[in-house]
């Protein structure tokens, strides 16, 4: 306990770090899955989360019950993911990674502008799950329920995903496709099916993230999750873009570090946090482009 006291970290901050790490880990997986099969970094991933959050906000504004709001959130995010895939990802398949990056950048901007148009810059409130923001008291320490729920949900999702990838046929096809797409097709793996699957799972994860983030930040604005996406992308690159586990670890680490440092450091020191993070990104890209956590022998793709 005294170590924590010296570092000016209390249990709440630690829990916050874990929760943010868990949420960022899910986003990292979402981004990494699509990158694996499409070699495309989806800059617009945060907009999927934003769309889900707005769906929740609308549902709460219309007085819908909680479960209906969550269903709407999933429906909207999945529909948007599929639309992005068909309208943008597939036509761009085969182009250089940089073109794809610019294109998703454009889509991100487009979606943000649409949200600005539709909802205005003041945003809307998604109040349904607010009760999770209240604390549990465990032996004299207050921890907000959402932090524990976030960690549990993230662990569950990752576990399910692991089972899907390791134990099912389609999971095997997805893993193979992300290692060597051309050979997989030649063996009979249906390219489009694998990509659609990855896009749907990625979307589902975005919806989960939307639900959890709106608990902590009920005010949904057009740039909701934009900051988070950029940070997660940095984490994924630092952790290792090419493989799922390093990417997830990267997302988790940066979430955890941001959460803890954000709480522990006084404001005038924590404001330069982004600079440190992005300097780390550049260093990794220069020195160890496959990522800090990638110890495999696979061929580099970045």
């Amino acid at each position: 306990m005294s170590v924590l006291a010296i570092l000016n970290i209390d249990w709440q901050t630690l829990a916050d770090g874990l929760a943010l790490g868990a949420i960022y880990a899910l986003m990292a997986v979402g981004i990494g899955l699509v990158f694996g099969v499409l070699r495309l970094v989806n800059f617009a991933y945060g907009q999927l989360v934003m769309a889900g959050a707005f769906a929740l906000a609308l549902a709460s504004q219309w007085g819908w019950p909680l479960w209906a709001g969550i269903v709407l959130c999933f429906a909207v995010v999945l529909a948007l993911s599929v639309a992005m895939d068909h309208l943008v990802f597939r036509p761009l398949r085969g182009h250089s990674p940089a073109v794809m990056l610019v294109a998703t950048f454009a889509v991100a901007f487009l979606l943000q502008s649409i949200a600005l148009l539709w909802f205005g810059s003041l945003g809307k409130i998604a109040s349904s799950l607010a009760f999770l923001n209240r604390p549990w008291t465990i032996s004299d320490v207050d921890i907000r329920k959402i932090t524990i729920v976030a960690v549990i949900v993230a662990v569950l999702c990752l576990l399910l995903l692991h089972l899907l990838l390791e134990r099912t046929e389609v999971g095997l096809h997805m893993r193979a496709a992300s290692m060597d797409f051309a050979t997989s097709r030649m063996l009979g793996v249906r390219a489009n099916r694998v990509i659609s699957f990855a896009v749907l799972i990625s979307g589902a994860l975005a919806a989960v993230v939307a639900v959890m983030l709106t608990v902590q930040t009920p005010l949904v604005t057009p740039d909701f999750a934009l900051r988070d996406t950029i940070v997660v992308l940095a984490g994924v690159v630092v952790g290792g873009l090419n493989r799922p586990i390093p990417a997830t670890l990267g997302g988790f680490s940066i979430g955890f570090a941001t959460g803890v440092l954000g709480g522990a450091l006084p404001t005038n020191q924590s404001q330069y946090l982004p600079t440190f993070v992005f300097v780390a990104v550049i260093l990794v890209l220069l020195v160890r482009p496959r990522g800090l956590f990638d110890f495999s022998r696979s061929v580099e793709r970045v």
């Binding site: 970094v41 940089a98 610019v102 294109a103 901007f109 502008s113 148009l117 992005f278 990104v281």
Partner: protein, 350 residues
Amino acid sequence: MSDTGRGAHMRRLDELVAPVVLVVAAALLGSLASISNQTYFTDTLVKVSIVVALYVFIGNSGVLSFGHISFVALGAWTAGVLTVPPSEKPAIMPNLAEFLLHRHVGNVTSLVLAAVVGGIAAFVVGIPLMRLSGLAAGIATFAVLEITYNLLQYEERIGPGLNAFSSVPETTGLRQAAIGAVVCIVVAFVYARSRFGRLLRATREDDAAARAVGASVYRQRLIGFTVSGVLAGLAGGLYVHLLPVNVNSVHLDLTFLTLAMLVVGGSGSLLGAVVGTLAVSAIDSWLAVAENGTSVFGLNLDLPAGTAEIVVGVLMAAILILRPSGLTGGRELRLRGRIAWRGSASRAPA
């Protein structure tokens, strides 16, 4: 068609004509507009400078850079800090460093210094980054953008931090913006025609072959990056003298808009940079006017605020998907008795 000799030199000068003519035409058009509308034209011409700077690097190297607006920002900061009247400085920049507090320079000097700072910054950033290509370069330059944004937000010893740059003398009028744009175009043209530009383009097409003939990919990219940093810095200096600039106006929005302009026009050519800027600006400005309520052929049009960005976004995505080489196809326009296109349609940045 021989590429040597004075004849060829004159032929190649033709390609400078179209971009310059377009800029001058835009300036003339602007001078005919009402005072309130002139700002749109001036703003467009400053953006031409930015997009030309982008072309100098992205168009010639084929490497994507998300970070050029950092150099625009640094140029803006340099010119702004040095031209705010000393009496006003404490008001908007209370924590300004000692040596900057009393420095004051003239307008042109501030622009030159802005360009110099942009160039130095680009050089320093380029030293580590020019080894990278493709996706890595895109991400790394994006990181540079974010680092600059973060530093300028909170470092109040060198600028206004989160405040806007008000009280900067508004010296960027139509004429100065046009001159600035022409200067950038000429520099870009000279660079592209020079040995450096041609070597850099060689690496874009096939960098293994280029290396085989002795072109150093790293060195040529660094040179191109630095030149484009100089132009970006200059544009930043012009920008800060046009509107009250703050950190957010030189961040993601401007990055997106200028990249869209380059992509729509065609990243492979100088003409593309100019055409793209003017075309997108025209659409953007017209839509901005329509957002305030206007009438077209007797129909009343009152578009909701924010439509402009959506249209630009759709346009950019559509061009990338349907015609990645942009409106000009990456080609320049030659005038020799008759109008002819030169150059192969280049692909979008790799």
